[in-house]
């Protein structure tokens, strides 16, 4: 449903993020999660939708499938984690990841096999990235996703349907470092110097600290 507005733009009848969060929270409680877990789910689905990712859709899929399928609840995460034959529940896995983050960030890489609805798990990883102040790289099924401090999610998934299951998923924490090399920086810095003015000797003499003994 649409209608047009003051600037001639067309208004889609949207749900607000606040409605999405509240409804996802209540639905999660109704699906059997505790209130505290449901609060986490509400926040994560809101975040996915804000990033333009299909959070509501996949949460619906998950709740629908949960009635007929069994999911494994992993509460203690290790470097390598495998679930067979039932996939991991992305919510319990996500909450465990958040809760154990201080330990997990010490690992270079963390591996998971068989996660249901990995997009839901991604939203927890995105929040984790913000909490520890490091970008997180996720690789699964030939796809790569960069979780950037919960400010955005960068991926080559655009316009591709998110899978309902991830066979192999690899997580690595990216140490904070520049995205450019020293030459690239020098080149830019040199250009910026063209906005500076050469100081005369007389100006130098009256600048801050002038006339004082630096050893006083």
């Amino acid at each position: 449903m649409t209608s047009s507005g003051s600037t001639g733009q067309v208004f889609k009848k949207m749900k607000s993020l606040s409605e999405i969060e509240t409804t996802a929270k209540r639905a999660s409680k109704a699906a059997g999660f505790s209130w505290g877990e449901s609060e986490e789910i509400g926040k994560c689905i809101r975040q996915l939708e804000m990033f333009g990712l299909p959070g509501v859709k996949h949460l619906n899929y998950y709740f629908r499938d949960k009635e007929n399928n069994t999911y494994e609840n992993l509460s203690l995460i290790n470097v390598s984690n495998s679930s067979s034959p039932n996939p991991y529940c992305p919510i319990i896995l996500g909450i465990s990841f958040l809760d154990q983050l201080k330990i997990l960030e010490n690992y270079e890489k963390i591996y998971f096999t068989n996660i249901a609805y990995p997009i839901i798990f991604l939203s927890f990883l995105s929040r984790s990235s913000e909490i520890i102040g490091k970008k997180i790289n996720v690789k699964f099924d030939k796809k790569e996703i960069l979780l950037n401090l919960n400010v955005n999610i960068y991926s080559n998934f655009l316009n591709i349907e998110f899978p309902k299951n991830s066979k192999n998923l690899e997580i690595s924490f990216i140490e904070n470092k520049d995205n450019f090399n020293e030459n690239e920086w020098e080149s830019l810095y040199k250009l910026s110097e063209n906005t500076f003015v050469e100081e005369t000797d007389s100006l130098k003499k009256s600048a801050a600290g002038a006339g004082l003994t630096d050893n006083d």
Binding site: F11, E19, S34, E37
Partner: protein
Amino acid sequence: MKVQLRDPNKIMRLSRLGSFHQSKLSFLRSFLNEFKDWEYKRDLFNLDRFGYGEAVYSFRKNKRTYSLVCFANKIKDDERSDRVIATKWDAAFTLHDGVPNQKDIDRLKNEVPRQEVGRLSFKELTLSRANKSVRVFNHVVERLSEGKQPDLELLSNVGYLYRTTAVYGSGKFGLADRFRIKNREEINGPFRLEMMLVYLVRQFTFDQVNHVAHHKNPSKAVVLDRKICKNLGIGNSTGLGMAPFIVNHPTLLNNWVMSREIALKKIREIKIVKKKDSVLFIDCIKKSITNITSWNTDSEYQQNKIKNLLKDIKKFIHFIDNDFDFEDEYPFNQIYLWLDEKACEECIEYVVSIMMEPYDEITNPLVSQMSSEEDKYFTIPTNRTVKDLINIIEKKYSNILEINFKKKQNTQNFWFISKNKEEPRLADRFEEGGSELEQPLAIARDVKKLHKKLLDTKNSSTVAEFLSKNSKLRHIVRRAFIVEKFPYSEIQDNTIGKNIMPIDMLRLKLSFFGALKFDPRSDKWLRICMFQGAPLPDELKNYDEQWVYRTSI
């Protein structure tokens, strides 16, 4: 001299919170202060002779415009209801971000009068509806059309022409999410846009009543006297929908109460009070008596509170006039200590509010601290230990740990969301069904559960380890870490006990809105009045800041 902030274990009890009064920190007063130099305009007034149609009012400054779009509708008397189950109202309103064009108005005309079942867009900021006080509205129309002013006694008994029955914001029904507008300086205070809506609605009610009176008798009708207009506000019926809000927004609650407490502390720490400040304080106290004597309610509970307030205020005035010298050092501290010993809670908080009147330099900086970035405090610090958590609970919830939840009366009630209106409700756990769907608002009971469970856990365990085995307590663990940082974030009382007065929770929130004349209609809903005595929009550039204590009807 350093004065300590008041103890949250005392201030955050429901009986104390239910005695709070409006002050300079209240949102409707800080709204007026912020928008006093904005340009006010009535942009559209397209009503038929009976007062039905559309109107638009705006505030603008530089390139920013906020427009109230009003739709006045004809409804039958038997369709008029203040209850949330109503589906039709005398008028419906939305605050539009910008200047609405005809297409916007046409779009909104299809949505706004339908309220909860309509759909708004991110260009709309708040949504509301209101019903006439038919008795007062018709009386005013009748008298004005005869060329006379209305009966002041009748107006005094009611205080408004219309009362709103809900004001929605922050993303409800498709309205703009808070994050879209949060960086605007002029709305850096809670509920500022809701206050704007109510304030402009008030002006619409005056314009509408004048319009209808004029068309009833064009040759004879007069307009409602400006002084009478000023002494009329907007009524509001408020039910339990408001109560969970203060539980669900702990850091926001903290920031409201903390601002009040910091203001009081700073005022008590003033060593020498200037003559002009003490004169203003005493003047406000004395003039405010009208607000008490014209405070009408059928509620026996509130009548007793008003009676005690009036008695104690008179005692206080006698003390100030006869046994007190403002030239002594730390006079406001002395006043506070006197009140704490001799006055009821309603009177203590009443005078605390008035103490702020002379001190813009204290209150103004606090106004901008009354919002909260709640998401910042959402993450549980799961690397902390169980011992840490036990210490927090024992220090911050000492009153609550004394409650015995094995006694039936202490778990008598439960909070739930009604299926038909998606509104919070309270019911008797032992008589009504649905307690298995209880909302997480029984904080005291859950804190006690958490404490017991923690005592059975190894002290050195991390909170992460604890939560992996006790996920049902996750919501309360989060709260405990919030209250560690935000001492006024938690109601220090049992919200499900047999004797709970939910209206105390409503009163707390409404006092921060700036409401006057709380009129409980039961223990679960009340009526209030907002903006009574406030300047009219065309007077905002130069108005009396103490208007709230100068009402004359």
